[in-house]
């Protein structure tokens, strides 16, 4: 492994050791050529056997027809009646051969099925390892359609909320919420806002009362000129909303 990792090339490395690696290769090539020659011989013998069988079949066809005619006739009559197949054979030796054949076939079938089933988990795992199931699902599956079929209410009915609450720590949860929400800051901010609004309201109400009292006193003293309210150094009115001598609109 170490040598393969160092030399990923499939051909042998050139150098002093190249001659030593070339010897086993020549041996393997000679063995492969011998196997090919043996295969050629087997194929030739098989060809000759087939030709011989053809000659025998051509010459012995009448005899073979006399032997197979009872077999084909019995098969025609026994085919619809599978349960009585063994009883339809006219010759006992054929019946026995069929029984043995059925047993062999069933045994072979069960053996093949067992072997196949034994290989299924491994094959399935190997196939799954080669697949990107996430990509396959995302590409070929309509997840929204699947999700639309999910009965969320049924799932929710099966959830044991009490058990979940029993597993939680109310004290820790409360402390976490208090720390995260910073309740003192919220209370302080809201209290400050309420106080600010209240102070504004009181100030505007007092200004309105000042205006009303001044107008009442001026009316009693029969004054026609407005009061000189501007103090020294005052910038004066900066907004047209407040007139300084009219009715003050109180902030709602």
């Amino acid at each position: 492994m170490q040598e393969n990792s160092e030399n990923p090339r499939p051909w042998p490395r050139q150098g002093p050791r190249a001659g030593q690696a070339r010897r086993p290769r020549a041996r393997a090539q000679q063995a492969a050529e011998g196997a090919l020659a043996a295969a050629d011989v087997a194929i030739g013998i098989g060809d000759g056997a087939v030709g011989f069988a053809r000659s025998v079949l051509r010459l012995g066809r009448p005899l073979l027809a006399s032997l197979t005619s009872p077999l084909t006739a019995a098969a025609r009559t026994a085919a619809p009646l599978a349960d009585r197949a063994g009883q339809a054979w006219p010759q006992p030796w054929l019946r026995q051969a069929a029984a043995r054949g059925r047993q062999d076939r069933e045994a072979l079938t069960s053996a093949v099925a067992g072997i196949a089933l034994a290989r299924v988990p491994g094959l399935t795992t190997a196939v799954l390892n080669q697949l990107d199931l996430t990509a396959v699902v995302a590409e070929r599956m309509d997840i929204n359609a699947v999700a639309a079929r999910i009965d969320v209410d049924a799932i929710a009915r099966r959830v044991d909320v009490i058990a979940i609450l029993d597993r939680t720590d109310p004290d820790a949860l409360t402390r976490y919420l208090v720390e995260e929400l910073d309740l003192p800051a919220i209370i302080q901010s809201s209290t400050g806002s309420i106080m600010s609004d209240a102070v504004h309201d009181v100030r505007m109400q007092s200004i309105s009362a000042d205006e009303r009292l001044s107008r009442a006193v001026d009316a009693m003293l029969l004054r026609r000129r407005p009061r000189r309210r501007a103090a020294p150094g005052a910038a004066g009115p900066t907004s047209a909303t407040g007139t300084g001598n009219g009715t003050v609109r109180v902030i709602p």
Binding site: G192, M195, S196, V199, H200, V202, R203, M204, S206, I207, A209, D210, E211, L213, S214, V217, L221, R223, R225, R227, R228, R229, A230, A231, P232, G233, A234, A235, G236, P237, T238, S239, A240, T241, G242, T243, G244, V248, R249, V250, I251
Partner: protein, 167 residues
């Protein structure tokens, strides 16, 4: 209130008024009327009464600790109470006008005391105005009659009490 250094500014009251609303901007810098000033004085009077009460309890505690066996709450007469209240009021007004230009009552009602130049009172002005307000408090009623919304103390010392909602 927070200062630039992040420490609480204890010289100002803790109630924070963010900005002057548009309805009140036209009144800023104008002399306040009688109602606002009386309400501010009422708040200051409550502060002074509270201070005198706390002082009374403090004196009682000292007497109790001094001789618990013969302790009884002191029963000051009216003259003593008025004198103590007058002194506390004088100190309270003087310090408040000198430091902040306003008392607690002035702050809540959005008022400020300024001199004839529109500036905060100096020591002499603050002390003189405090003394005049303590000796002749009824002079505030002249605000309702005055054409310039001035009290007797304002007329004598050329001061003004103006609307000032800002800090």
């Amino acid at each position: 209130m927070r200062t630039a250094s992040g420490l609480s500014d204890r010289s100002q009251p803790s109630v924070h008024v963010a900005a002057v609303p548009p309805e009140a901007r036209g009144y800023q810098g104008q002399r306040a009327g009688l109602v606002s000033r009386v309400l501010a004085s009422a708040v200051d009077l409550v502060v002074v009464i509270g201070t005198v009460a706390v002082g009374y309890l403090a004196v009682s505690m000292v007497l109790f600790l001094w001789d618990p066996g013969h302790f009884h709450f002191p029963a000051p007469d009216r003259t003593w109470l008025l004198t103590a209240g007058g002194v506390v009021l004088f100190c309270y007004l003087s310090v408040s006008w000198l430091v902040n230009g306003r008392t607690w009552g002035d702050f809540l009602l959005g008022l400020r005391v300024v001199n004839y130049q529109g500036e905060p009172l100096r020591v002499a002005g603050a002390v003189a105005r405090s003394a005049l307000c303590v000796v002749f408090p009824i002079g505030i009623l002249w605000v309702a009659v005055s054409r310039a919304n001035r009290s007797v103390a304002d007329v004598v010392l050329r001061t003004s009490v103006v609307y000032a909602w800002g800090p």
